[in-house]
């Protein structure tokens, strides 16, 4: 079973040279740490920056330079700043190559729920609905099951959804799976030490297993 860093490492392998990428808060943010040095990507911050650099040194902290998680950041050579309208024009227009974000539930048709839990304080969707409705390619980083063992890969989402038919790939603590265009989770890889049987038991939605399922390489 992968920990958060394991999930981030596996997702980092999906990243290709030259990509423009939007990373959600949480595990997705960690992905940046595991992109190989020879792969050059540009990270987008939806509050108005292309080219997020490392966190600043103490003496470089600039309150006018934060990421979408409100953390202080730096820029890269070649960075560009812009307004929120331009930022989402970029996202909505399909110019961002890859969006990586977390999810509470994903359905077998690619619906995603990650913004609201009934009964809990609603904080808002932020940019998540725009991102999932517009991204060319979406990879979801998530736990396969809740703490009490209930599957989060479902026939149909039970939580209020963020977007429909948008998720393309899932990297969970147990497996890598693709959403099939016709519906269903196609199992691609197992986490180290995890059996196909364990993944079957943890997946409520339709799981498609074809041939031998390899263990992921991290």
């Amino acid at each position: 079973m992968l920990d958060k860093i394991g999930i981030a490492k596996r997702i980092a392998k999906e990243v290709k040279d030259g990509m423009y990428i939007n990373l959600g808060i949480g595990i997705p943010t960690l992905v940046a740490n595991y992109i190989p040095a020879h792969i050059q990507v540009v990270l987008q911050s939806e509050n108005g920056l292309l080219g997020i650099g490392p966190f600043p040194k103490e003496n470089e902290v600039d309150p006018d330079l934060i990421n979408a998680g409100k953390q202080t950041i730096t820029m890269m050579p070649g960075s560009a700043l812009f307004s929120s309208a331009e930022s989402f024009a970029m996202i909505r227009g399909g110019h961002v190559d890859l969006t990586i974000l977390g999810a509470m539930e994903v359905s077998e048709t690619g619906d995603i729920a990650n913004w609201k839990v009934p009964g809990k304080m609603v904080k808002g969707m932020g940019g998540a609905m725009d991102l999932v409705a517009s991204a060319k390619h979406i990879i979801v980083a998530m736990q396969h099951c809740s703490k009490d063992g209930a599957s989060k890969l479902l026939k149909k989402c039970t939580l209020p959804i963020t977007g429909i038919k948008c998720v393309k790939r899932i990297v969970s603590d147990l497996a890598v799976l693709d959403i099939l265009p016709t519906g269903g989770f196609k199992l691609l890889e197992r986490a180290p030490g995890i059996s196909v049987e364990q993944i079957k038991n943890a997946t409520e939605g339709r799981l498609v297993i074809e041939g031998n399922i390899p263990e992921m390489q991290l």
Binding site: S45, E46, N47, G48, L49, P54, F55, P56, K57, E58, V61, D62, P63, D64, L65, I66, N67, G69, K70, Q71, T72, I73, L81, F82, S83, S84, A85, S87, F88, A89, I91, R92, D111, M121, V122, K123, G124, M125, G126, G127, A128, M129, D130, A133, S134, P160, I161, T162, G163, I164, K165
Partner: protein
């Protein structure tokens, strides 16, 4: 060009009225109009509908106006950092309308650009789509969203000249440029007010035509929500 300079936030907001709709620039606490928020607090204007991406924190930004119950309604995309906000929301004292961030940005831009409605894919199939027209273009579904405008747009820029031309800095730009275009009265507070002709015309982010009043702000605190540093 005529000067739009006023002495300070009190003069800039002298005609702000109860129950006004007010846009406030900023993302989190970055690029918020600190001086104007303080002036609204002092003035005690009530019943405000605030359009702002976030709602500040308990003791800073719009959070200050929530504490004094000056805000009737928040229109935002994310309001997660504020305990007083949560309390008022749960008790029904505060109305909240949540809008996807890109839709919020584009609705404000549309307000300034004279576009009453446009189609966007954000929110299709979700509760955001309730009551909205859905239409398909090129095999994909979109929602019809309408413009947003305000009685006052209150924004913060880095530099500004006497004609109201503005330049922002870093990610403090965020919602400020669109909001500047969508207020019946747009008030800009700037860190540095410069003489006409000082700003390069090629590098102005907000042309002065959108700004009715401008003043030199003071004592910027620029509070940081998540100070994150590397070794």
């Amino acid at each position: 060009m005529i000067s739009k300079v006023v002495a300070g936030p009190s003069e800039a907001l002298h005609d702000l009225f109860d129950n006004a709709t007010v846009m406030l620039g900023g993302f989190g606490l970055c690029g918020i109009p600190e001086n104007c928020i303080a002036a609204i607090l002092k003035k005690g204007t009530k019943g405000l509908t605030c359009i702002s991406n976030n709602a500040g924190v308990d003791d800073f930004g719009i959070g200050l106006l929530l504490k004094t119950r000056q805000v009737k309604k928040m229109i935002s995309s994310y309001v997660g950092e504020n305990a007083e906000f949560e309390r008022q929301l749960l008790s029904g004292e505060l109305e909240v309308e949540l809008i996807p961030q890109g839709t919020l940005a584009e609705r404000v831009r549309a307000g300034g650009a004279g576009i009453p409605a446009f189609f966007t894919p954000a929110g299709v199939g979700t509760e955001v789509a309730a009551g909205k027209e859905v239409r398909e273009f090129d095999g994909k579904q979109y929602l019809l969203e309408s413009w947003l405008r305000a009685d006052f747009a209150i924004i913060k820029a880095w530099k500004g000249d006497t004609a109201g031309n503005l330049v922002y800095k870093g990610t403090a730009r965020n919602f400020n440029p669109m909001m500047a275009t969508a207020g019946t009265v747009t008030v800009a507070e700037v860190e540095e007010l410069v003489p006409l002709g000082t700003l390069d015309p090629n590098q102005i982010h907000t042309p002065g035509i959108y700004v009715q009043r401008i003043f030199q702000g003071k004592n910027y605190e620029k509070r940081i929500e998540q100070r994150t540093v590397s070794k």
